[in-house]
């Protein structure tokens, strides 16, 4: 059933309009506020935004697999459909969700991170879609997989999550068709049909 629906979705995807696809994540915690937009371009997804609420420095910045932001902990691991090691944004080997660090500059409470770049790995539609996943800001610098710390190649040893937000649709408002297609990854979604269990018992 899902297969047929999926085929139908793909078949109709070609009927898309030319409107630019844009997504947004609004980051918020008790002390942190940030606004990040994602825009489809020919070269990849343009990531633009600002965040304030942390002191000057670098802080890990990743797309996590799930968007269950109840407490920032149910967001799963870095979005990593290829099951590869953690790395820098410009590394060939990296998690899809590895956006490296954001850099806060300025004194004290004035410190702000402002960024604008194009990433060629994340996508708003299709397999690497980040839609409905979460954008997470960490308490420490992401070491980009380069240190000997035991977490370096999985999380960049960036520590706890200090703010997060679900990546949602900004525009267009109509159907995104293939946009919301789910991709299953190994570490995700252990879905067991109740009837399978029933058969076992």
């Amino acid at each position: 059933m899902f297969w047929y629906i999926f085929v139908a979705i793909v078949a109709t995807a070609s009927a898309q309009t030319d409107e630019t696809y844009r997504a947004i994540a609004y980051l918020r915690s008790e002390t942190i506020t940030g606004n990040v937009t994602f825009t489809e371009t020919e070269d990849g997804v343009r990531v633009q935004g600002w965040i304030h609420g942390l002191d000057a420095g670098n802080y890990g910045f990743h797309v996590h697999e799930l968007g269950d932001i109840g407490d920032c902990l149910a967001t799963g691991a870095h979005y990593n459909p290829d099951d590869v090691t953690h790395g820098a944004r410009d590394n060939e080997v990296r998690h899809v969700g590895d956006l490296g660090n954001v850099r806060f500059e300025g004194e004290g409470v004035e410190a702000v991170a402002i960024f604008d770049y194009v990433d060629s790995v994340i996508a708003l539609r299709g397999r690497n879609s980040i839609l409905g996943r979460s954008l997470v800001l960490h308490e420490r610098e992401d070491d980009l997989g380069l240190t000997s710390h035991e977490d370096s190649l999985t999380t960049g040893n960036a520590g706890a999550r200090v703010a997060c937000g679900v990546i949602g649709i900004l525009a267009p408002n109509g159907p995104w068709n293939s946009a919301a297609r789910f991709v299953l990854t190994k570490s995700s979604l252990i879905l067991i049909l109740s009837n399978v269990l029933a058969n076992r018992n």
Partner: protein, 282 residues
Amino acid sequence: MELEVLVDFGPKPNEETLNETLKKLKNTEGVKEVQYKDGTFMVETVLPSSLVLNMVSESTGKRTVLQGFGESQSAVASVTSALGCGKSSGVMGVVRFQQTAEGPLVVDGTVDGLKPGEHGLHVHEAGDLSQGCKSIGGHYNPLGTVHGAPTDGRDRRHAGDLGNIVADDMGRATFRILDDVLKVWEIVGRSISISDRRDDLGRGDSPESKVDGASGDSVACGIIARSAGIFQNPKRICACDGVTVWDERDRPLAGAGRRSTSPCCNRELGGGDAQKKTCCKV
């Protein structure tokens, strides 16, 4: 569709059995590709999952469980009157969405902090919380129709029209709604919103009735996000302590019944950051 079939091989699979099973699957009509990794067969196929499961069970002589599909079917929204994650006051709740194989979308939720009485429940078109619930756009309405009741035909309701939920005297609304129009994969990245007033389902006299059921402003909203499957729970995420899905059902979530080295499971269940282990790939 890609199926993930988990096999109870124990510590190490019998090579011969494994190779035979791989060969058998590969030679089956309707199976495009098969891979084996860490106790799991990844089978790309157009066959029904039960057929593939039976095939793997028979060939290996072991128990099998369907671990996942190429497409997930669950989503969740943390609904709040505040923004983003973190503590908030006022209205707060969780709405889960599950798409059953051939059935309706199941919308299941509990929301606290509401005024007692009826409140409209709607899927809105955007997932933009930059201005709180003011920036989530109108009701999700891909067909450009008038507002209506969920029981109205799809040409006489917005796709996002889910009717009303009812808050009790304590301000809690608990609901389970089945809907035949919305699909989970078209609403991921959009929002769900609870309105201040009752939705008149397009039956009212005011001009707003045909737009939003005269249901007033949103009192709480949240972005519909991808979530772990509804049958997945923290203990299944964290099979890393050696307690496998096979005997998980008989074990407590945490505590004495677990092996002592279950840091990440404790973490998922609210344990401290210090207990983190790489096996959970935080």
